[in-house]
Amino acid sequence: MHQCRRSHHLLPAALSLLLWSATSSAQTPSVRSADSIIARALDRARAGDTSTALRELSLATRVAPRYAVAHFQRGILLERSTSLGMSDILRRREASNEIKEALELDAGNPLYLMELGRLRAKTPFLRLDAERLFNRALDAAIKRNDARVLAEVRWELGQIHDRRYGTMANRRMVTNPGISFDVTEAISDWHYTADFFGQWSQPVPNAGELDFDKAEELYRAALDADSTHLGATVGLLGLLLEARRYEEMISVAQALRHAQPAEPRLLLALGLAYHRLDREADAGFAFDTAIGLLPSAERREMLGLERVLRREAAAEYGALGDTGRSTFEALYWDVADPLRLTPVNEAHVEFLARVAHADLRFSSPEFHMHGWQTDRGTILIRYGQPPMVGTLSPETQEIHNSEAIARITTVWWYPESKLRFIFVGPPAFDVQNFAGDFRAYAENARHLTPIRFDNLRAGLPIDSVPVQVARFRGDRPGLTDVSLFADLPAARLLRGSDVQQATLETGLFISDVARHTVVEARDSAIVRLEKPDAVSSRSWHRALRPGEYLYRVEARQGVSGRSARGLSAMQVIDFPPGRLELSDVLVARRIAPLVPGTTPRRRSDLLINPNGSLAFARSDTMFLYWETYGLTGDSNRVARVHIDLSLRVDKIQRQDALVVRIIGGLLDATGLSAKGDERVTLSYDKVVSLDGTDRTVDYLALNLGEAPEGVYTLQLSVKDLVTQRTVTQQRVVQVRQP
């Protein structure tokens, strides 16, 4: 696209030159005739009919053989339809002859010199000569004070130095004589790459510094001449990014926005710079604006999720229509969002920043490649900026090493994930591809880990929040009361923060299957260093319609930004009226009647201190609460139930006898004890007076005694002795070290 835009950018220049020439020689009938033919040819070229355009331009050169513009236009059209390499050599030669003819007729024309330089740059072996021609064009443009050509030729020269810098940047020198980098070894053993950086190579300080400085000067000078020059904008911002000069990136991008108000690339770069400076809200705004300015086809290609999905999933995603695609993307980024409490989706912003980074540094106008389409761009988007980068000079000794001979080798190393990627490419070109079998290695890595946000985790550490969900029959038909109890790790969140108090933000977010938010509750409290646990237990109660939901419970400490999150799917079940049903068993640290001595008839009659983590220490007392619905009463409206409660060991950490004793809560059962090696079972009958309701509430307290540390399944069964129907519920609880 750069190339495409560059062509569009040059077209007005060429046309203006055409008009200037036409005006200056308007008296000559042959020139007037040639001008009309050229105009026709350019129309054909714009319509994509290059061959007709070329025929018309040939005619123009015959009609006015001494007319430089006709030769130049033909040459430039020939040049634009060739690409770097040996395949178009005859066409390039023809183009070169035409532009040279134009130069003979209009000696020292900077535009002609520049195009001749571009032609050289596309020709193997003559590529080195391009710089000389660009310098001649630069001198000529300065003499003629032609700002547009000046900007264009400075950009071309800047690119030459930028590419040279890319060849030299992050250069490492192998310290072990006789050793060259072995790509195969790098695939099979991650230690090899680790050792390359750690032991047997040294960074070469300031490598490429001169070319960096020259490229920067040239890009800046290009923008001084023409502040709308996109190529120079992208080049300069890319260099500033490379040097981590983010403040300067912001300043440059903001200054250029007046000249390029609708340029999405500029805004993407601005968003990237904000993101690097942790100004996430600004970054989010810049990215959103940039996305809005992108043409839809480009947006689809640039920001699509194909690169960060497994191959099969990517194929399915690729087959989706526009609506399905949008829905999938919304779902993907919703799940990926590390924290809904923050104003932006950090994962999405990081993804956009990676795309912008790839665009700025890996796009290749010469090869018509966008940065995000390249091998390096793809890896950057999947795994972020590599913490360790090294380049090695071309191999000259081991001629059998076809990967490295006369090629720059670039090594990317991600120490945390042990991922490594090797790229090779010719010096002074802005393109590099996977070395050896690294394309297959990258595919394998993609299958195992399609995307990673290691860098995000370092800046946004996220702890876990245990959450207990309990579902009860709602007061209104078709609604279920859902209670979520969370144990926020307030002390852990505050750890390491040298402050007396901090703000603890908490939030509950529940979304339905379609990812529509149905519950959003945020609040904040001050947490004090000496009493961090004062705000650690949180409860939310909501009435929801039966269905599938996803809940997120989040907490964020304001001082350090340390955060915690509990995220899971949740099935909200229906409790049809009149049917025997059992609520979830609510596991609590303490349950007691609000008014001592009274018989509780509803949840609200009890003071419940829930246990979000479902974990207890040995000797702790575990309180249980449940509700039974739809019991059938006899003629006196009295129901009779049989209750079985069992505690089974699932995973034990120490072999001890399991001894559990009911110590309270259930009047009928007080004082009963149970013993067993792997399971304790308590059974009892109960008589319930229904008193106009089919809802009965029960609670009891279990002293865990010397129960060994481990994982237990608690099973509760309630049998209606009138109808002989039974309902069951289970909970998994944990006994662990205090």
């Binding site: 001169l210 300043s251 402050v499 260093l529 350090s560 930004g561 340390r562």
Partner: protein, 397 residues
């Protein structure tokens, strides 16, 4: 004849080298006037070195292979001419690269080489403050306390775990420490103990007197007593655009730069009143005050100098735009230090209304933040490894 040719080549190379190593006539020049650089072109030096090396290689070839070998260039004179020529050319090309790099690096001023003391910093440092012999460096690793004596030595750390520290100051005479961050303003007891959140919000600028802390919270300037221990919005004034930096001057006035203006504030009781202002046509980054002079670092727009002798009407007196980007600025009498990122630190003479570039200290790395205090200027080098450098503020090169 052949030996003569070798000798002539060696002699010519040696004479050239001798001529170029005779000390230049310009000796040490005192700071205060622009320095004129007397640097010998490396292209010439390296060309000569290459020629000598080539001559040596040619001579050794002749001695080992004999005076005449079959072939088109087998004679001694041809061998020596070729090796001297090739050596000289290679040396010239390498030297020219160095010359070009030097010209780019020092395009804005001649090289200065002050004596330097350096220490490593943890995390990503952002902001500097100093009182007495203690330098405070704030950043992602909290606030690092560094004793500035013969060397620079780390003596402690405060404000651990506070994210986004962007402003820092310490009250005079061992008073408390104020830390401004994206989450709020924290006051720390002088020696040890956790910080107290006294203001929530994005606090981007802080200045302390012996009785109060002045700070910019968003678009407001507020003042809180040093003993503040509650979190609240404090008395202050609304300035209408984000506060970038603030400084107290010797007259007790508070000077503030926002995105759009330079404002002087008078301290009245426990609050502030506006004394005057000047509109800015650029985005300010940092402010430095010395006497009746104020300098604003304006990023891409360079520096803007103001005469602030009349607080009601600050007057722009000068502009300096040599650096690509002015990150920070510090005034010491008639000397002005400018942190210019990868270019290093510029030293300017501002004794007249037109600032004059004296030179550039390139060795300071990526100079992002600087501060002059107690005869020294401290520079945060945010390069590949984060460092704190100290140079004498009044050094003579």
């Amino acid at each position: 004849m052949t030996r003569r040719a070798v000798k002539r080549a060696l002699l010519a190379a040696a004479i050239g080298a001798t001529v170029l190593t005779i000390p230049g006539s310009a000796g040490a020049q005192s700071i205060g006037v622009p320095r004129v650089e007397h640097r010998r072109p490396r292209s010439v030096l390296y060309a000569l070195f290459g020629a000598i090396t080539g001559a040596g290689a040619g001579a050794s070839y002749i001695f080992t292979q004999g005076q005449s070998e079959p072939g088109t260039c087998g004679s001694a004179s041809c061998v020596v001419t070729v090796t001297v020529g090739v050596g000289g050319l290679i040396g010239y090309i390498i030297g020219r690269e160095y010359d070009q790099l030097h010209a780019l690096q020092y395009r804005g001023g001649a090289p200065l080489h002050p004596p330097m003391v350096t220490t490593q910093l943890a995390g990503e440092p952002v902001v500097l403050a100093a009182r007495d012999s203690t330098v405070l460096v704030g950043g992602s690793a909290g606030v690092q306390l560094i004793r500035s004596g013969v060397g620079l030595s780390a003596v402690g750390q405060r404000a651990g775990g506070v994210r986004g520290i962007v402003a820092l100051d310490m009250a005079p005479s061992g008073g408390p420490l104020a830390v401004g961050s994206v989450s709020g303003l924290y006051l720390y007891p002088p020696t040890k103990g956790p910080g107290t959140l006294v203001r929530e919000g994005n606090v981007g600028a802080v200045a302390m007197s012996s009785t109060a802390v002045y700070f910019g919270a968003g678009t407001r300037i507020e003042v809180a007593p040093l003993r503040a221990d509650t979190t609240r919005v404090w008395p202050g004034v609304e300035l209408g655009s984000p506060v970038r930096d603030l400084e107290l001057d010797s007259r007790g006035l508070l000077w503030v730069v926002t995105d759009s203006q330079l404002v002087s504030l008078r301290i009245t009781g426990d609050s502030l009143t506006r004394a005057g202002s000047a509109m800015l046509d650029f985005t300010a980054r940092r402010l430095a005050i010395d006497g009746t002079r104020a300098v604003i670092a304006a990023g891409e727009r360079g520096l803007r100098l103001f005469d602030i002798s009349d607080p009601a009407a600050p007057r722009r007196t000068g502009t300096w735009t040599t650096a690509h980007f002015a990150y920070d600025v510090s005034l010491v009498g008639s000397r002005l230090y400018v942190a210019a990122g990868p270019e290093g630190v510029y030293l300017l003479d501002v004794s007249t209304s037109v600032p004059t570039t004296i030179g550039l200290v390139h060795e300071l790395g990526f100079a992002a933040t600087l501060l002059s205090h107690g005869g020294s200027t401290y520079v945060i080098d945010r390069g590949r490894t984060n460092m704190l450098h100290r140079i004498p503020s009044e050094f003579q090169d």
